[in-house]
Symmetry: C2
Subunit: 365 residues, 2 copies
């Protein structure tokens, strides 16, 4: 993939002009535009439809679709892009850094003028980021969701894990829980480290002993295993890193002959579609999917506007605790659940779990 500077030199214009042409912006005369397109083509730069007059394409890389919150993000990103006259192309599962690099190039080759990467290698501690630099050097705005790296000119979007964990722990403390466990996946990933840091910060003042943490993985089986481990270590409440884990935790608690929420409270994370459908319905943290998708699309489409390379930005989006049936007063406490002082705690008893979704017209399989 040729860099902007290579094309600029070949065409004898500035990088900013190259960027304007490749992103289909106005303000470049036809002769200059043509010489930039010729130079870009001769260097093998694929032409996106926006350079040829159509709407832009945003490439989206999604780690997997098993966690329905990623699905929800992909869906909302497409909807937000559509509203702005843009299209999306989605690639799945970059299993290795080499493959992630290949997919990003493939998306650019396919005409994407900007890339949004959800939980890519940027989300892994010390994960390599050189392939992201190739993207920004080529002038394509890069939006990275779930994880911040200091050394990249990209837009970073994350959920405020610190706020989320603090809200959950306040909720559990209000219910009288004094020994709480955290169930998460690989500790070398950004969302886990953020949650862990907040969990340790808050609970450090609860008791002299640290509260237990179980590192398994973000799956049903991982939640099942973590719940059995944490209950064995004496917790009365389990905070999970995803709703899928929490679903497994419900079953893990039950497998020990205990009941949710009477014996053990369970909290999820994400608020996916089915979180309101489990038995009992999950108290969870609702990720602000629409806000994140909108910010991601805005960053993707704005990036190429004025500058030759995207500016570095960071946006942290605040999620919301949703209180349902899987949390209750700790065993042996008075059981009188205090009124929640945190106004962001929303009690969800509605009939419609796909509130805010686009599900009304979905087709049957």
């Amino acid at each position: 993939m040729p860099r902007l500077i290579d094309i600029a030199r070949r065409a004898g214009v500035s990088e900013a002009t190259v960027s304007r042409v490749l992103n289909g912006r106005a303000g470049v005369n036809d002769q200059t535009r043509q010489s930039v397109l010729d130079a870009a083509r001769s260097l093998g730069r694929p032409m996106g439809p926006e350079a040829l007059g159509g709407g832009p394409t945003i490439g989206v890389l999604v780690p997997d679709l098993d966690n329905q919150v990623f699905t929800a993000w992909a869906e909302r990103i497409e909807a937000e892009a559509f509203e702005r006259g843009a299209s999306t192309l989605v690639a799945l599962r970059a299993r290795t850094v080499e493959r992630e690099r290949e997919i990003l190039h493939r998306l650019l080759h396919a005409g994407a003028s900007a890339l949004i990467v959800i939980s890519g290698h940027h989300a892994q501690q010390n994960g390599p980021v050189e392939h992201y630099r190739e993207v920004t050097a080529a002038g394509a705005p890069l939006v990275l969701i779930n994880g911040v790296r200091e050394d990249l000119d990209a837009a970073f979007l994350s959920t405020d894990d610190d706020h989320a964990i603090r809200s959950v722990l306040t909720h559990l403390q209000d219910l009288g829980h004094q020994r709480v466990g955290l169930a998460v996946g690989d500790e070398h990933t950004w969302p886990v480290r953020e949650k862990l840091r907040a969990f340790e910060d808050v609970t450090a003042v609860w008791a002299p002993d640290p509260q237990p943490v179980s590192f398994t993985d973000f799956s049903y089986a991982g939640g099942y295993e973590a719940a059995r481990d944490l209950v064995g270590r004496g917790v009365t409440a389990i905070v999970c890193g995803s709703d899928v884990m929490a679903a497994g935790a419900l079953e893990g608690v039950r497998s020990l002959g205990l009941t949710v929420p009477e014996d053990v409270s369970v909290v999820g994370y994400d608020d996916v579609f089915w979180a309101a459908l489990t038995n009992p319905p999950l108290t969870t943290v609702r990720q602000a999917v629409t806000s994140i998708a909108r910010a991601a699309v805005r960053a993707a489409l704005a990036g190429g506007e004025q500058s030759r390379r995207p500016a570095r930005t960071e946006v942290v989006v605040r999620p919301q605790l949703v209180s349902r049936g899987s949390t209750a007063a700790a065993p042996g406490t008075a059981g009188d659940r205090r009124a929640e002082p945190d106004r962001e705690v929303e009690s969800d008893r509605g009939m419609e779990p796909d509130r805010g979704g686009d599900g009304a017209a979905s087709m049957g399989g």
Copy 2:
């Protein structure tokens, strides 16, 4: 998009040779290959990576990601393609025929050598298919999931809805139900018509009056509304066209002060991840996601091999009834649930709902 015949004429070779070159097959000498590539380029035919020596790309069009069975298909298609050295690019939600056409061209432009369309306009009764002919005329194998059209040279893959509905009705009849309702979405779509036909066929011999059908949509709200309608018409069991609908039906039944499965049995369709997690867990029809994905990828990658245009094929994949807690003996019957004679009825009481999935290593949100 130039047709194979245009490229063949320009290069002075056969269409079969053009197809071989564009699909990266062996058996064409270098000079001929080069002249085909030159002709294709001069006519504006985008070059997929397989023509340039890399692995092929399969374009996948998914109607939406709200129904998790579509997500599961996209995921499995990617996995099957990956095993065969191919990549996938996914586009979402072709809202109109014009947009579906634009997306298919965009995917071809992005280098896709074959296209898989899930529940596209081919699944709508009398939906236009001219844009599909453009794809096959360009020599790209086309795989259409959920719906068969007589007038297209494509590979058609469908779930055996007839078998599914017959299995469900046998199960309900064994449980003593005599008045059963069907809850589905738009009756002008292929999967609905297939289910309706089987439902009417089987139940025609049950009673002189036809059994009630409620047409709403494939959403939670649609299931809720249909359940209230059907219970009002005296049914003791509701067969839903998707698990999302069935989840709504559970709540719809409850909203009338009735209990599932004691008063009303509810059956879903798809067996998505969370179908085992609802209260009670859903009896449902498990779509053979892996079989369908494998057949789709095989058809996508094989199509261009020998012929200048893909041959017409039809594959119908048989799903499996999974019996869980949302179905039970009809009220007022002996309640002794007969042993299921249908060996395909699988009783699912396992701990792991994501059996067969790829969830173990999924990342947290």
